[in-house]
């Protein structure tokens, strides 16, 4: 069947890219004129569709799953630009299909925003789904985190093959009780690491509060046993393996366990042989997705960007990237993509920054951030709301020191834009 929608969609895509415009418009156009396009195209894939969702870590985890599967010789379609709405998927498809609408891939691995995933899975039931976590950074969108958990549960219910769940997130693990059809696998943490992942419910418990008893948990397919400076131990098939890791941040490495569990499951279903050593090599070579623990170079010294979106993520970021010897900037915006409600900054403990202080605070909520630091007795250098000017000041004053920037999503985009004027920043197309 030849339809005009694909050539027209591709044409719109080309025009919007020439204009440097958004990635979703061509998707909108093709959806309007050919509503069955996405479903039809994805249904042709021999190994179906895998959906990655959760409040946090979708982009990096999806990237890992894709690279793991590619290491096994699979052709993978993915929505790489992080446009994780249905329309973004349609737009990404337009880029990859030929002029007759055919997609040359074995499987699609798609990152989907929790809310939009529901619309997506109603139209395209996935064969696999990976549900990462339900953290508290989207309350202003969904109201309650229990509501977010329901959205993920709906993805799981629509999954026809295998659902991979985070054993350590009670709201995610609980989804298993509601499933009848799909196979359920878990990824999990060693007991010794549980303390580094405080759940949102435990976040506020003060220092010295008893750590809640670890309840009986189901067997996990992949368990993260240990995190080192640049390596990690994973256990699966009853064996513990050590692999080097380019990814930094404990949360990224926990998500590597998630990616391994999904990739192994996909391969195990007959897609590929899941060669042990190539899988591990691929895992050790995964670089962070853009802005997620990226290290750039400014004045010959590293500048690390650490994306922070919720209290757990900020806590882990502070823990994973100690401030000693670094100039530190914090950039907090409250645009829609960041979340409008910044109350959660009060659930992050900033004690670890007290010794060195924070050199620069910026972003639309800079004064709230400075106020927060003041209450944790952290010295603050300068405070402003103009990210471009403040970043320039920070770089000028911090000459000779490596730098670290903790930033919300849209602040990160602004900082990358500014940095691209003075250094080479990875371009994501």
């Amino acid at each position: 069947m030849f339809s005009l929608s694909v050539p027209l969609g591709k044409f719109v895509r080309r025009v919007t890219r020439l204009r440097g415009g958004g990635s979703a418009l061509p998707g909108l156009v093709v959806e309007k004129i050919d509503p069955g396009f996405m479903q039809r195209t994805l249904s042709t894939l021999p190994h179906g569709v895998a959906v990655v969702s959760g409040t946090n870590g979708k982009t990096t985890t999806t990237k890992m799953v894709v690279e793991l599967l590619e290491s096994q010789g699979l052709k993978v379609f993915t929505n790489r630009t992080g446009s994780n709405f249905t329309r973004g998927v349609a737009a990404a498809l337009l880029g990859d299909v030929d002029w007759r609408g055919r997609l040359d891939a074995d499987i699609a691995v798609l990152e989907l925003d929790e809310a939009h995933a529901v619309h997506f899975v109603n139209r395209v039931p996935p064969r696999y789904s990976l549900l990462l976590n339900v953290l508290r950074d989207q309350l202003d969108r969904f109201g309650e985190i229990d509501k977010t958990a329901q959205l993920l549960q709906h993805i799981a219910v629509k999954t026809t093959g295998t659902v991979v769940l985070n054993r350590e997130d009670p709201r995610v693990a609980r989804i298993a009780d509601t499933l009848h059809g799909p196979e359920v696998l878990y990824f999990g943490l060693d007991d010794s690491l549980l303390g580094t992942f405080p759940s949102d419910d435990e976040l506020r418990a003060g220092p010295g509060s008893p750590i809640p008893a670890v309840p009986e948990r189901p067997q996990a397919d992949v368990v993260l046993r240990r995190v080192g400076a640049d390596d990690a131990d994973f256990e699966y098939d009853g064996v513990t393996v050590t692999t080097g890791m380019k990814l930094r941040g404990v949360y990224n490495i926990f998500n590597a366990a998630a990616a391994l569990a999904l990739a192994r499951s996909i391969c195990g279903s007959g897609a590929a042989t899941a060669d042990h050593s190539t899988l591990l090599r691929a895992l050790s070579e995964v670089a962070p997705a853009f802005g997620r623990g990226e290290s750039l170079t400014v004045d010959g010294l590293p500048l690390d960007l650490v994306l922070v979106k919720n209290p757990s993520g900020f806590r882990l970021g502070l823990k994973s990237f100690p401030s000693g010897g670094y100039a530190t900037m914090i950039a907090i915006n409250d645009n829609y993509a960041d979340g409008r409600d910044m109350s959660w900054l009060w659930d992050v403990d900033f004690d670890s920054l007290r010794a060195e202080g924070v050199d620069q605070v910026t972003g639309s909520r800079a004064y709230d951030m400075a106020l927060r630091l003041q209450y944790d007795e952290v010295q603050v250098g300068a405070v402003g709301t103009d990210i471009a000017a403040d970043l320039a000041d920070f770089i000028r004053k911090g000459k000779g020191k490596p730098k670290r920037v903790f930033c919300t999503y849209t602040a990160m985009l602004a900082i990358r834009r500014e940095l691209s004027k003075i250094t080479t920043v990875e371009v994501v197309s």
Binding site: G206, D341, A370
Partner: protein, 250 residues
């Protein structure tokens, strides 16, 4: 329970004990910030703070000077309701006696007469405040600005689907200038009764509204020690954060 004595370098003017109610279940919008602000401002005013937590099944801490209650999801309210009922007499006695309390969102609702949830069940409150709450399908979310006689302009963020109406036994905290407040009809926000401040605003409430924090501290100190001699907290960032929040369009 975690006693936390902030030892200062100068002699303390006395100890003030702050008790957080159900921090495990009722603490979802940065309510920890309210405890942190009281702890730090008590130090700045020259007093020694003690932060204590009360959770389901705990023994109730002796000698509480300030009570803090936070927000929670509907599921959290269900978990604590029986334990809270068992403490109703104690909390009511403290309230009538003039103990300062800050009650945000979920705990504001449960200190009222009842919360009739949208799906049917009625969660009984402990009747400290003459207010009642009805669950609705409408979620009220966004920045709020409240005009109050007592604390000036109060700034915060709301996110609730329960709508509260006040009975004759309480006064509103203030009048809504931006946002919604207690309910979508009468333009009032929060409740005031004796030394209780109840509000839907999180954000957290106290960091950007130090006047309310200092009211709770002053009341607690005066009840315990007779007179309050304030210190000089540096509120530079609080002022800037307030100005910035008040100026922004949403």
């Amino acid at each position: 329970m975690t006693p936390d004595s902030g030892a200062g370098t100068t002699a303390s003017k006395g100890t003030i004990r702050v008790v957080q109610l159900y921090p495990r279940e009722m603490n979802i919008y940065g309510d920890w910030g309210n405890a942190l602000v009281l702890r730090q401002r008590l130090k700045w005013h020259g007093y020694t703070p003690e932060l204590l937590e009360y959770d389901v099944g705990d023994e109730f801490p002796e000698g509480a000077d300030i009570i803090l209650g936070g927000g929670g999801q509907d599921s959290g309210q269900l978990v604590i309701q029986d334990d809270l009922q068992s403490r109703a007499g104690l909390l009511k006695g403290m309230a009538e006696d003039g103990a300062p309390m800050l009650l945000i969102c979920g705990m504001y609702q449960l200190f009222g007469r009842f919360f009739k949830t949208r799906s049917g069940p009625v969660i009984p409150g402990i009747g400290v405040l003459d207010v009642e709450t009805h669950g609705t399908d409408e979620r009220l979310i966004g920045n709020v600005k409240v005009t109050t006689a007592e604390f000036g302009e109060v700034l915060g963020y709301e996110n609730h689907s329960g709508q509260t109406t006040l009975g004759p036994g309480v006064e509103p905290l203030g009048t809504v200038a931006k946002g919604t407040g207690n309910n979508s009809s009468d333009g009032q926000e929060g409740a005031r009764y004796r030394n209780i401040v109840a509000s839907y605003l999180h954000g957290s409430l106290l960091p950007k509204n130090p006047a309310i924090a200092d009211f709770l501290i002053r009341t607690a100190v005066e009840r315990k020690y007779g007179t309050f001699t304030p210190g000089e907290p540096d509120d530079r960032y609080a002022v800037l954060a307030r100005e910035h929040a008040a100026r922004r369009p949403r």
